[in-house]
């Protein structure tokens, strides 16, 4: 009976995770972090070889050879962690969610064993903005442009009692016409390209677009397929990127709040 179901539910403990705990959390995503001290040319070469996508690569910058890690292309397979002899570890914190594309890439000087730039937003800065963010509503339309449904599964989790995105005034809506933000998952397939453009057109200005997952950010493991057009930004303009394969719910919260914060700061 309905009363029994509700009664049973009310007896359950509260599971809501405080937002401070969620921001920057990436448990369960296996996003890698480079330990600069452990880098050698041989290890860097090994990392590049084992990477199944082009997330890890070598670059020449001002005569220095450096290691490039593009999180937008990383599928979190963990091979660099497995074979990197300690030079790659599972990240404890990951804040490059919802950031512009250039910030999804990090570079390390291999000889000098140092990171070349450090431009990630600090979780502290994001935290300071939360109060102002919470006063605003945001309507999101999720758009699958060809995803494997891994990202959908995690987006669905955002409304469960652990994450409860509604507490921030953020709702998922049924039509692009009701949306402030498009959350686009998957590489854009040939067969979806037209529908993605049409959905984008239907969103009222200002249109916020967030590309989600390795596929949305870069094409991920499907990059180069004859049946896809490319990453989301090959078809429509993108404001922020949330890497991961799939991103965890905490990474989505971090990313969505980051995009909002940058929009407000503008």
């Amino acid at each position: 009976m309905i009363g029994d179901v509700i009664g049973q539910s009310l007896r359950q403990p509260d599971r809501l995770i405080p937002v401070e705990t969620l921001l920057g959390n990436c448990d369960g995503s296996r996003m890698p972090e480079i330990v600069a001290d452990r880098l050698t040319p041989a290890i860097a070469q090994r990392l590049v070889e084992v990477c199944p996508t082009a997330a890890l690569g070598m670059e020449e910058r001002e005569g220095q050879s450096c290691l490039r890690l593009s999180y937008g292309e990383c599928i979190g397979c963990g091979k660099c962690i497995e074979f990197g002899e300690g030079a790659a570890v599972t990240a404890k914190q990951f804040t490059r969610c919802g950031v512009p594309k250039e910030q999804t890439v990090r570079r390390w000087d291999i000889e000098g064993r140092t990171e070349i730039t450090l431009s990630a937003p600090s979780p502290e800065a994001a935290r300071m903005q939360i109060h102002s963010l919470l006063q605003r509503a945001l309507n999101i339309r999720q758009l699958d442009s060809g995803s494997c449904n891994g990202c959908e599964a995690e987006i669905t989790a955002l409304t469960n009692p652990y994450y409860d995105l509604e507490r921030f005034g953020i709702h998922f809506v049924a039509s692009p016409k009701h949306a402030d933000m498009l959350l686009v998952t998957g590489p854009v397939t040939r067969n979806m390209a037209e529908a993605v453009k049409a959905a984008y057109e239907a969103v009222p200005a200002p249109k916020l677009v967030v590309a989600v997952g390795a596929c949305g950010c870069s094409g991920g493991i499907f990059a180069g397929s004859h049946a896809i057009v490319g990453a989301v930004d090959a078809v429509i303009p993108v404001d922020g990127y949330i890497p991961g394969c799939p991103p965890t719910p905490a990474m989505f919260v971090t990313g969505i709040l980051e995009v909002l914060q940058r929009r407000i700061a503008k």
Binding site: V5, R30, A195
Partner: protein, 497 residues
């Protein structure tokens, strides 16, 4: 070791339509169930077509026909072949004579005629504009309702074309493959380990079943077995995936009838299992764990035992709330008699998984074609014959209980030892494997030369079950469609690949 491998018996007949396979019979004399049909190229690039049938415990049978000339369609005799033959035509340009409907399946209006991705170079395929005709249902008072590809909700894309009279659906036509990513082609040239990563991205919520099935196909081809410890951990994770999927589905059914409280309850239980999975293996959906040869990393037995405890608790709560849900009169009112799939239709279209079992078809690869650690467990297979939304919900609830039980058994007796057997560098090899994924029988067939894949075919249960769903929808009111669709719980990406 190779008991799951199909035996290649070239059975064929020449007919006025072209070469056709002789449909094998089961031991009881019935027509064998079609498992999959796919094409491949011989080392000298001659086209071949593989037909795989289930001839009963424990064997599958493979029939391979040369296909450089036209083939006779088996769809008129075996309706379940309908999409497979269209796919063959799209991928290889094989002429299928006598097929009732050879419209393009994988590629939409933008794809040029005469370009076959498994045969031709596809680096720069031009954009085209060709016509696609939906079936027209004509008559007084008939209206068409077009839905999708972009749907309301967090869901994958696909197009549904309803022909309705008032509220009642006369006919539903599907147009899918919006998420077609050319995955089978992407396997070509990959090393075995990287193939597992691609398999995980075929259907993200069933990624572990895909990784295990692919890995077993490679292991069968190399004639090795994953070590017992790896096989046991695979069983735990496969059953966990099923449990998560079924809990989520029952919650989804409640959402679709506006019963939000148990839906949130189910979402909470699901999340508790995903979080514990991340604690146990590092990823929420067990990505990056299974590879050909076993597992990428060994898991701590203590953490597996802890996972089993969380499973036991989650399942206890789930079974209690599921009982309360099914006792709710408004739920009974919506679930019962909605979307009835007859046993005959399910058999003709070779439905698999919970959908088949809810329509009286007693079928489960874990029991009928046991693999890995399942050889050491008795698998109970719940079957009911009503075929409505309620039957599918009850099958899922019953299966969730069996999965929870299997997890306890397997986690309580994890063997010691390594979790990885290295694969010998092989020459030309072929392998096949079937796994009972949460959505039903999933199969991988692979071929490799010199340690690199040359072909990998994925038979996903959703590809098989999507053409079944419209049969169950016809005659229902259109407002019940989301509920019926949810009760089938099919993966768009798994189907479209």
């Amino acid at each position: 070791m190779k008991e799951n491998l199909p035996t290649a018996v070239p059975h064929s007949e020449r007919t006025p339509l072209g070469t056709m396979p002789t449909i094998p019979r089961t031991k009881e004399g019935a027509r064998a169930r079609l498992v999959t049909i796919f094409g491949s190229l011989s080392p000298t690039r001659e086209k071949r077509v593989h037909y795989i049938f289930d001839i009963g415990n424990p064997d599958y049978r493979e029939i391979v026909l040369p296909a450089d000339g036209p083939l006779g369609s088996i769809t008129p005799e075996v309706p379940a072949a309908v999409w497979y033959e269209r796919e063959l035509h799209d991928q290889y340009g094989i002429e299928i004579v006598g097929h009732p409907d050879l419209r393009p399946l994988l590629f939409h209006d933008n794809w040029p005629d005469g370009v076959y991705p498994m045969m031709d170079p596809v680096d720069d395929v031009p954009w085209s504009k060709r016509e696609y005709r939906f079936l027209q249902v004509q008559g007084e008072g008939i209206a068409e309702v077009a839905v999708g590809p972009v749907h309301a909700g967090v869901i994958e894309p696909g197009h549904f074309r309803f022909s309705v009279v008032g509220d009642t659906v006369l006919h539903l036509e599907l147009r899918h493959f919006y998420t077609h990513k050319g995955t089978e082609k992407l396997f070509e040239g990959r090393q075995f380990v990287n193939g597992a990563m691609l398999a995980e991205s075929v259907s993200g919520d069933n990624c572990f079943a895909h990784a295990v099935c692919y890995s077993q196909a490679v292991e069968n081809a190399c004639e090795i077995n994953a070590p017992p410890r790896a096989a046991a951990i695979r069983l735990v994770a496969l059953e966990l995936e099923r449990l998560v999927c079924h809990i989520s589905d029952v919650g989804g059914l409640c959402t679709d009838v506006g019963f939000g409280v148990p839906a949130a309850y189910a979402a909470r239980l699901k999340e508790s299992l995903l979080r514990e999975s991340a604690q146990c293996c590092g990823t929420r959906y067990w990505r990056g764990i299974a590879v050909p040869g076993g597992l990428r990393l060994d898991l701590d037995s203590g953490k597996v035992a802890q996972l089993a405890q969380v499973v036991a608790r989650a399942h206890r709560e789930f079974s209690e709330v599921a009982r309360l849900i099914l006792e709710t009169p408004s739920i009974q009112n919506r679930f019962e008699t909605a979307g009835i799939l007859s046993q005959e239709a399910a058999r003709d279209l070779a439905a698999v998984g919970p959908v088949a079992r809810a329509s009286g078809i007693d079928l489960d690869a874990r029991r009928d074609h046991p693999y890995g650690r399942y050889r050491q467990h008795q698998i109970e297979v719940p079957v009911t014959h009503y075929g409505d939304v309620m039957a599918r919900a009850k099958i899922r609830i019953a299966e969730a209980a069996i999965s929870a039980q299997l997890i306890q058994e397997a986690a309580g007796s994890l063997p010691d030892g390594s979790v990885f057997t290295p694969l010998a560098a092989p020459g030309d090899i072929q392998g096949f494997s079937a796994v009972e994924s949460p959505r039903g029988e999933l199969c991988y067939w692979m071929e490799a030369r010199g340690g690199r894949l040359t072909r990998c075919h994925i038979k996903s249960p959703s590809f098989q079950n999507w053409p079944v769903m419209p049969v169950a929808v016809a005659g229902n009111i259109i407002a019940d469609f989301p509920l019926i669709n949810k009760s089938f719980n099919l993966s768009y990406s798994g189907c479209d690949r």
